[in-house]
Structure formats: C-alpha cells, structure tokens
C-alpha cells in the first residue's frame, strides 16, 4: 500500500480574488472574473479575458516587495499564491522542495522588448526572466526552499502534473514537504496565439453547451503543499488527500484532441485505478471544460465512456476563471479541495443547451452535498491528458 499524500496548504490568486477566501466567495456568489480587457495592452480589446485586476506594482506592494523589472507578472502572481499556501510551513527541519509549472513564463515582459532588441533599438535585460525556470527560482529564494526545485511545462496540464512528481518525491523519501502548482500571466503571445487558432469566444465562454464558441483566457497562480500522511502531526490541518493521478497521451494531434477522447479516458481510468476506486464512487468531476468545440466534445465522450451509467455531477469552472493555462490544473485542484471542504459543487456558468452528442448536462446551480471524492481533469497541447482524484478524509 503506497503512502497516502495529504494536502496541508493551499494558496491561489486569480481573477476571482487575491487569496483562497476571495476565490471561494466569488465561486459561491457565481461571480465570474471574465471581463473587458484592462491591463493587457492588446489591440484585441473585443476579446474578454479574466485578469487579476492589479498592476505589477500593486502586486509587488501586496508582497511588500520593491518593484523592479525583473519581477515579472508571472513571478509576482506565483509569489502571492505560494506565500499563502506555504504560510503554515517552516522549512527548517524538513527537506522541502518546489515543483512549479508555467507555459509562457516571462513572456509578458519579453514580448514588450523582444522585437526592439532584435531590431537594434532595445535592451536585453528580459533574457534573465524569459525562461520557465526564472519564476520557480525566485519562488525558491523568496520562500527559502532549496532542497529540490524544478519546473514543468506540458501546456495546459502542467500544474496537474506537478502533483505527480511531488507525490513521487515524497513517497521515495527524497522530500518531506513539497510545494506544487503553477502560474501563467496573460500575454499578447498567448492571446494572439489562441486567437490565430480561432478558438477564443468574444462572449463569456459556454462550457459543455451546444452553442459553445471557444475559450476565454485567464491568468493566475495556485499552489498546494503536499506531505506524507504518516508525517502529519495531530494538529496538522489537512485540506484533502491526493488519492490518485494519471497522465496519458492522446497520441493523436499536436493541438486537437482525438474525437473519442482516448487519452482523456485513459487518464481518468488510470487515476481511478491508482486510487482503487470504482467510477460510481466519484461524486463530482471538475472538468477541463475549456468550451472549445473540440475539448468539450472529446472530454464529454470520454466521461461517458469511463462513467457509463454513473455520470457524477460535472462542471467546468473555466466560465469563472477563464483558462489559466499552466495554472489551470492547480487552480482547479484548489477548487476541488474547497468543494470537498465546504460540501459544495460549483456551477457551470453560462450553460443553456445540452450538447447533442452527450448524454449529460453539467451542474448549473450551486449544489450543497456531502462529497467524498472529486476528480479533476486537465488536458493540454501535445495530447497531454492528466486526471487527479482528491478525497475529503
């Protein structure tokens, strides 16, 4: 029997709020963070986004740090969420590590200066903060964590995957405590990238709706602290347990999911197997549910394949937060722990018509219900599909 992994800290910043409490309140009040673009300097003002409504300087102020150019928005968001998650931890006595995730890293800064530099009229300082390791290493310095650090980038499943290596580091005894999660800030790079793929909705996204027309981009960071159950002290606060996880590859197309959702089904099945659970024991699925035509169809069919007659309550919280890319997996893992703790299923906003290919509709109202097991999906480019299962006790 493998050692159980407990979640002993959570922290989050998103368009719903600057900490766990603010995020939970927005979820309960059905208040979406998707709005007209304010801070991102793009010509595409018609595209709604889910921004954290603070400037970089304001984010630095929240942290009590003096703002400078090498503190990228990505780093600042990561620091705020990680600080909240780590706040009950002292890393003096145990071996502690960080496994963070990001897709575009310091791009928000790089994209302002890159072309100017190459055209001979700009500076090169951004090269220090461009790569994916930068925010993780600053996080490590800020929290004083140094026994192990690394960064994962598997597109939109990145931070779900950080929980897998985190668990292995604990089970192998290499670490005693590990901060896992991810971060992405909105950037012109991703906005224009997804726009060129023509999968951005000009309205609020409609996950699992017959008339869905694409995703909204969001930004944020979320981190969780993982420890072995056997190391917990009697007074340790446990938010949830990580019972199972799996990553499977769709091996179909670089960006599109297979129509029948092979990789997604495999990820869910393997996570159930690891958790030693039957499908009917899952009470709630926090779906990837980006609201693109392709994702919601293949994810929906995969859910039908895995759960058959016993489809649990399903909802996507992307209509609240937008798609926060590398942060999505850990944002939704935090939401899953909040669902378990508060015995609440969050509604799938903006839904009106069931998809004709699916046998189920998402949960559209806030539902109060005791929950034992929550499954959370995160799928990304490169056919990278991940599922995690959390339990209350």
């Amino acid at each position: 029997m493998a050692e159980r992994i407990a979640i002993t800290g959570i922290g989050i910043i998103s368009s719903l709020g600057l900490n766990v409490e603010e995020n939970l309140n927005s979820l309960l009040q059905k208040k979406s963070g998707i709005k007209e673009m304010e801070l991102l300097d793009s010509i595409h003002k018609e595209i709604p986004v889910a921004e954290v409504n603070k400037t970089d300087k304001q984010l630095a102020e929240i942290l009590g740090l003096e703002y400078h150019l090498e503190l990228t928005r990505t780093t600042l968001l990561a620091l705020i969420a990680a600080k909240e998650a780590w706040s009950n931890s002292d890393n003096k006595t145990v071996k502690s590590g960080i496994i963070s995730a990001t897709t575009v890293a310091g791009m928000r800064t790089s994209e302002k200066h890159y072309a100017d530099f190459q055209n001979g009229v700009g500076e090169s300082f951004f090269i220090q903060t461009h790569d994916a390791g930068d925010s993780t290493e600053r996080l490590a310095d800020f929290l004083g964590i140094k026994d192990f650090i690394t960064t994962i980038s598997t597109a939109c499943s990145s931070s779900a995957n950080s929980m897998m290596l985190g668990s292995r580091m604990l089970r192998s005894g290499k670490l005693d405590k590990v901060l896992v999660g991810g971060v992405d800030s909105l950037s012109l790079f991703t906005l224009n990238g997804f726009n060129s793929l023509m999968i951005l909705d000009k309205e609020h996204c409609k996950s699992f709706d017959q008339s869905r027309a694409g995703l909204n981009l969001g930004e944020g960071a979320a981190y969780l602290v993982l420890e072995r159950e056997s190391d917990l002290k009697p007074d340790s606060k446990v938010y949830a347990y990580l019972e199972g996880y799996a990553n499977a590859n769709d091996a179909f197309h670089q960006t599109a999911s297979s129509p029948e959702g092979n990789g997604a089904a495999m990820a869910m099945e393997n996570a159930l197997k690891m958790a030693n659970l039957k499908p009917e024991q899952i009470d709630y699925i926090n779906a990837h549910g980006t609201a693109t035509n392709n994702n919601d169809l293949s994810e929906g069919l995969a859910i039908m394949k895995v759960f058959g007659e016993h489809i649990p309550h399903v909802s996507s919280t992307k209509p609240y937060t937008g798609h926060t890319l590398a942060a999505a997996g850990s944002v939704e893992a935090v939401f899953a722990t909040l669902a378990l703790q508060n015995e609440i299923i969050f509604p799938n906003l903006n839904f009106s018509t069931q998809m004709e290919e699916l046998s189920f509709s998402p949960q559209t109202e806030l539902l109060k219900k005791p929950l034992n097991y929550v499954l959370s999906n995160s799928f990304g480019f490169g056919g990278n599909n991940s599922s995690i299962i959390l339990s209350r006790k």
Partner: protein
C-alpha cells in the same frame, strides 16, 4: 533497483549520430556559437512530416529514434523530456510576426509548435504511445529532472522502462541576446551550443547495455562545501575507486564556475582522469545530456577520446564515470554511471 542505459542517441555539433564511432574527429567551432552537425533527416522522417517540423523537433525526433533503435525498445512506458528553452525558433517567429503585423493576420503554426512539450507530444504521436509523457523546463535542471522522474517511476514500480531526453536549440537571435550577458561574454564567457540526446532506460541488462545509472542528485545554490561532501558520500556509497574513474566536468571557460571544478579536481579527484565536453557541445541548459551520452560511450567502449581529456591518465579499466555540471553557480548536478 538497477537501471540500465540500453540505447543512446545524440544529435550535436559533433558527428555523433552513429553510436559505432566515438568522437574520432572533431568539428571545430565556426562563428559565435556551436551549430548542429545535421543528420540526413530524410533517412529518419517522412518528407511530409519533415516539412512541418522545426529544426529542434527534427533533431529531437532523430535522436529519440536512434536511441530506441539502438535499444530495441518500441513503445516506452514513459517519455520524459527536458529543455531549458524549448522551441526557440518557433517562439521567435511568433514574437516577430506579432510585432511586425501589429497583432494581425497571424497564422497559428509557430504558436502551436512553440510549446515546450511539442517534442514529447510529437514522439508520442510518431510511436502511437499513450503512456506517461512529461516535460521539465528548469534551466540546468531540465534534463536531470526528466531523468529523476524516470528513476522514481522505475524504482516505484510504476514503469519498466523509459525514453528520457534533453534538448535545446540555439538561434542567431537568441545568441545575440546571450552575448549581452556576462556568462556568455566574448571575454571569459562560455560559448553557446545546442543538441538533443535521448536514452532508453530499462530495468533489465542486455547485450547492448552501455552502463548502469547509479546516482543522480541536483543542488540548487548549494553552500560552498556541500558539493564536495556529496561527492565523497556518493563515492563511498557506490564504492568508487577514483583511480578507475573518469570525471566529466562542465568546464566552460567562466572563471567563477571553473573554480569549483578545479577545486574538486585538486582534492577528491586527485587520482582521477578528468575530462570535459563543453568544448565539443557548447554551453546550453541541457548539455548534461551530451555528457550522459559521452559517459555511456566511455564505459561501453572503455576509451576516452583525446579531445575530451583534460588531465590525468585514462585508467586501463574504466569502472565509473562521474558527471559534474553546474549552470551559473545556481544549478549543480551529479550523475554517476558504472560499467
């Protein structure tokens, strides 16, 4: 649990595509950074696919295929890649197009291919491999993290084998940026390089086995004495006789980093044969994959190419290769391979 390196593949600035030869001839540096000695891509990749692939993906696919063919492994239980920069060319293309066209009329191809896990995903599609697929992207820890995850999964009985690789590309534009940094400065700086190395790791030894992977440790900003202590501990744990050991260090011409290498050379490794590899690969985030390939070859072929020798005598029997690499004094890694 023992883990064996049963297949290797490397595309680099040197003629490394054939594992039968081992750096008998050296391509010398031309220009500001090391360029790839490109393999005949058509022999490995269908023309239709080749057209769409950027250079870094091509080299990644070719090196992964060489490693898989070498080992006979067809469908690995896990595909793990490490890359510091990911797909630099496609990232640059999209950045420049965005700027030139003022965010209009953009095509998605370079955006799609700019993700760090493009190579991992492409290998999976090529093999039809639905298994665990992970990409690590933390500077000088990128390849090491992929390797570590594979070790933990094999030791934890999650998998029997894995394909693990490290890849990075260098471009004119990126090198222009690097040259403004002290680490890569023309005076006392490192010369940038690139490459892609893949390895088939398995629990079983076979007739093609290159080496056994004994140890992997990473250290982030370690205290001054920590590396030496750790080296001593690893040598003791694995009963390494330093006079039968080749030590492969990441000498890169940067004085502050050189000090640490020299210190170890003059203390714990006084009796050892000291070798280098960045004179052949250049400096890049995943250069330890080049070292890993070289170490596998050294142990299997029981020889050290002259171009790698720094000091000491090549042992008549090479029992171990110890790899020590660091990046900007921040990321340090120690890897021990045994015959």
């Amino acid at each position: 649990m023992a883990i064996y390196i049963n297949g290797i593949g490397l595309i680099s600035p040197q003629e490394t595509k054939s594992n039968a030869s081992f750096l008998e001839e050296v391509n010398v540096l031309e220009g500001d950074y090391f360029k790839i000695a490109e393999p005949p891509y058509k022999e490995y990749i269908a023309p239709r696919e080749l057209r769409r692939m950027s250079r870094v993906i091509r080299n990644g696919i070719v090196s992964a295929k060489i490693a898989l063919n070498d080992s006979g492994l067809e469908n690995p239980d896990a595909i793990l890649t490490g890359t510091g920069l990911g797909c630099a060319t496609d990232t640059e293309k999209f950045l420049m197009a965005m700027s030139e066209n003022k965010e209009s009329l953009l095509t998605p191809t370079s955006f799609i291919q700019s993700t760090h896990n493009t190579l991992g995903g492409s290998i999976a599609i090529g093999l039809g491999c639905h298994n665990y697929n992970m990409t690590y992207v933390n500077r000088g820890f990128s390849f090491e993290s992929a390797l570590l995850d594979a070790i933990l999964m094999i030791n934890g009985q999650e998998i029997e084998n894995a394909l693990v690789g490290g890849f990075d590309e260098m471009t004119e534009n990126h090198n222009k940026l690097l040259l403004t940094q002290k680490h890569y400065a023309k005076e006392n700086g490192a010369v940038a390089g690139q490459g892609s190395g893949f390895f088939a790791l398995e629990k079983q030894i076979n007739e093609n086995t290159y080496a056994e992977l004994k140890e992997l440790e990473t250290y982030f900003k370690p205290e001054d004495s920590a590396i030496e202590e750790k080296v001593l501990q690893i040598l003791k744990t694995h009963d390494v006789n330093t006079s039968e050991c080749v030590v492969l260090m990441g000498f890169n011409g940067v004085p502050v980093e050189q000090n640490k290498y020299n210190e170890l050379r003059d203390s714990v490794f006084l009796n050892s044969c000291i070798a280098q590899y960045k004179n052949l690969s250049g400096e890049y985030y995943t250069s330890s994959a080049f070292a890993f390939w070289a170490a596998s070859q050294i142990l299997k072929k029981q020889s050290l190419p002259e171009c790698m020798l720094v000091s000491g005598n090549v042992p008549s029997t090479i029992k171990h290769v110890f790899i020590y690499n660091q990046f900007l004094k921040n990321e340090h890694s120690l890897i021990l391979l045994a015959k």
